[in-house]
Symmetry: C2
Subunit: 518 residues, 2 copies
């Protein structure tokens, strides 16, 4: 990315510097903890039944592993391997011994240490959507994403403190050559935000670039104090690890960076239709990949990923925000706890094609069980639309308000002599009004969460103000935010080193098959 | 209500008899149980702190009770009463002894015994909105409600089996004289549905009418096997019971019918701004009314009601679906469990003025914590809009889908040899597809919840089908439902007896001040 590109990407900043303090910008960044008892959708006995079934799958059915280095590693570890079929069977003793070496928590370091994240236990981290092809908002309509969309969404991610990490794969960059898109994503991740950055783990070469760029930001030691990058490794369910994902897993685990192993199972398509079977298969798939990370580097930081819902039996497509998906969210988190591993889920999924009531309903059907299940990394928590094919700017902001409310909800309440305010209740007595008391007035500003999108005026006042619905208000707000964006400070030498790397590697990669060696 | 009125109210039925089976109509009526551990937003210590503070309020601050019979009852029970100030102070020993006499569960009988409801323990019952002034839908816009709206919404309540009880106060009947509206409501509650019926408890006279009409339906014994009617008694927070509500409470409790004692507390207005104080005051207010029911009739069925949220500090209006409201939902349920009482909450509250994304978000912020907190009677679970001032036909149907999903979610899953399907996983093996297997195909129809409003087709198919959003689909569906409505069977002699009563009392009440004696 050269300076003119940077200017283009940042042009919103120069357009107007209206420093009106938007309510959203008053929300502080903070590590979130869930003090509630976790939601559990399985009984303890059912957890063990699913564990047993997944052990049976690993030992007797096995997985296909389309990567020579992975097959070598499994063979050296004593697993049964059929090299001609690229098939691996894993004894439970081996798998469980390896998985037990994974740390229950780790710190994901950000380039701004105040944005470091705890991953595991009761910590909750919200992350924006990843992977969409289309960008949609009320100005551009729905069209294939471009670098400017990516930059805009990354800026919003930086500004919205109910989101914890940088964005990754916020939308596809159709105006950037495929072979260098990962460099642009990393460049924007390190320059437009100072939140914890992550990466696509699409094979060995790409991951080497991520590690090289991380070293330019953090120095050569990427592991002391916790990993600085990582990402998702998907299983090709049922029961296949392909070369690309295996390469990513091995490269990042070897470098001590975190790997989120995530089967993507739609019950009825990639697994049997019953949730019990789907959960057992998901568990087997996840544990197999997690075990491999520990074979590569004992103690490598990992996350147990779950992305299980049902296929829609009418359309054959995925059902996001379904009741079955909500049950599955609880299952995933419970199974992760069974092995003392951090857990990854998703925050605001929907199958809806627009930011409508359905999108809101289904997002709630994802967010509520995910938060209550004590999911540690909550991906896709802002912007996800259209079964993940699109990112909506308006929904992004709407989701961000939902997350801000979750931050508030999870603070719980203080019960003390001061907050019980018996003197104030006595003073006002039966039939009085508390709005004007000293107790209330002294807490007026900070007593409650102040919404930045929700409208609480009555019908008449709301009509007079223009009768805007929430999507219209979100449309206004994301534009106001972008106008106020300012990039977080970054040492100019780091900025230049990243630019040099991107430019140099951009030239090299023009003639390279990025995925050639997985 | 005469026969021509009945015809008018039922005219949708005659318009068309399209018996196409809508997906929504396939949902069976069933008593719902919550198998999950309850959401708790207070620690055990905080529960006791709030209990202690509320005992302090009852003993030292007391309540105003604007009803002579109630003052007499308290005086006879040994409470400290200042008759000139209509003020009552209640010792904890007296209150707790009385509250302990209330049953932890009861059966709310419906005229169709298959629709009887369990109230208490882990049972969950969804009930439609109550109390709105305006009706709104895409045909009529937003206008003061009329009897036809009431009938329409009652018919929808009957047809939607994710709702457990009949509607009550679904909307105000502006085209019916005030003095007989309660008779119309009861008439429609007993004829348009066969679900459990309830009533407004607005004073002694009105309640006598409810009891008389109930006897026409159930016979003279209204208590054996459980109450057949009941309703909400609101406290005039802070700390006032008025004559009307006291009259309703005493009349219904004496008849062995259930009373849901519900303070309506907006923290910062009717109580101090802190949730701890608001919860302590709510608890004191609720326990005082509940104790009075037991003084009137030991063992009378009761429900601990909670309706606590925060005032919006900008507009001064209520904040429905706020994070503080969600915390308060957990508190209410925990306090009710503290005294082994059934608990009443609310299901789909919102401050939004239209059925938009905000309405969906805030309704989720009410429904999720309410269900997870093990609330037994969930009022306002369908249709509520505009802080309760309006009922939306479209939102009604949207909420009903949400409730149907909750029904499915709370079923949990079966984990067994059959559902783990290890043979099927082995048969397909790595990389295969499960859609066509016998295991999947034999469960195709019933494996998952089938949405009747949510759209899961991809963008192109959805566009081709007309690009309808969820509100538009809801608008179509409620009209289709009303076209297919058929009244549940009712003995013609009961129907006529009810009509005679309504006609006779309608005449008498034309010259009576309905609220004159509370």
């Amino acid at each position: 990315m050269n300076k003119s590109t940077r200017r283009r990407v940042n042009r919103g900043v120069e357009r107007r510097r209206d420093r009106t303090q938007l309510g959203l910008l008053k929300i502080p960044f903070r590590q979130l903890q869930n003090p509630l008892a976790p939601l559990e959708t399985l009984s303890a006995e059912q957890v063990e039944q699913i564990h047993e079934a997944s052990m049976h799958i690993l030992e007797n059915i096995g997985l296909r592993w389309l990567d020579v280095e992975a097959l070598n590693l499994w063979e050296q570890a004593g697993a049964k391997v059929d090299r001609s079929q690229q098939h691996v069977w894993l004894d439970r003793a081996l798998v469980l011994e390896l998985v037990a070496q994974a740390p229950p928590t780790f710190t994901w370091r950000a380039r701004n240490p105040e944005r470091n994240l705890l991953v595991g236990e009761n910590a909750i981290n919200f992350m924006p959507t990843a992977g969409p092809v289309y960008a949609t908002n009320r100005n551009i309509g729905r069209r294939p994403g471009i670098a400017e969309d990516y930059a805009n969404l990354q800026k919003l991610t930086q500004m919205c403190n109910s989101l914890h990490s940088a964005g990754l794969g916020l939308v596809e960059l159709h105006d950037v050559p495929v072979s260098v898109r990962h460099l642009w994503r990393q460049m924007m991740g390190y320059t437009l935000t100072d939140k914890a950055n992550w990466a696509y783990l699409h094979g060995r070469q790409m991951c080497e670039d991520h590690l090289n760029m991380a070293k330019l930001v953090f120095g050569d030691d990427l592991t002391t104090g916790g990993p600085v990058t990582g990402g998702v490794v998907n299983v090709n369910s049922p029961l296949v690890y392909d070369k690309r994902m295996s390469g990513g897993l091995i490269t990042m685990a070897r470098a001590g960076q975190f790997v989120i192993v995530t089967p993507f199972v739609l019950a009825g398509a990639m697994s049997p239709v019953t949730l019990a079977a789907a959960a057992a298969q998901q568990n087997a798939e996840a544990l197999a990949g997690l075990a491999l990370t520990q074979l590569v580097r004992p103690g490598a930081p990992v996350v147990y990923g779950a992305f299980l819902t049902n296929v829609d039996m009418k359309s054959g497509g995925p059902s996001f925000g379904s009741p079955e998906g909500a049950v599955a969210i609880g299952i995933g988190a419970q199974m992760a706890r069974r092995y003392s591993l951090p857990h990854r889920g998703s925050g605001a999924l929907t199958s809806s094609n627009i930011t409508d009531v359905q999108a809101a309903v289904e997002s709630a059907w994802t967010l509520w069980p995910t938060v209550l299940a004590h999911t540690n990394l909550i991906l896709h928590a802002a912007g996800w639309l259209e079964s993940g094919l699109a990112v909506s700017y308006e929904k992004f902001i709407i989701d961000v308000e939902n997350l801000a409310m979750m931050h508030q909800f999870l603070q719980g309440i203080e019960v003390s002599e001061t907050t019980l305010a018996l003197d104030s209740i006595a003073e006002i007595g039966p039939g009085g009004h508390h709005f004007g008391t000293l107790h209330t007035q002294s807490r007026f500003e900070t007593a409650f969460y102040t919404p930045f999108l929700a409208e609480r005026r009555n019908y008449g006042a709301w009509q007079e103000a223009g009768s805007f619905d929430m999507v219209q208000r979100a449309h206004t707000l994301w534009q106001q935010l972008l106008e106020q964006y300012q990039p977080p400070p970054l040492d100019i030498s780091i900025q230049e080193a990243l630019e040099d790397y991107v430019n140099r590697r951009g030239g090299e990669l023009a003639t390279v098959d990025l995925y050639g060696d997985g």
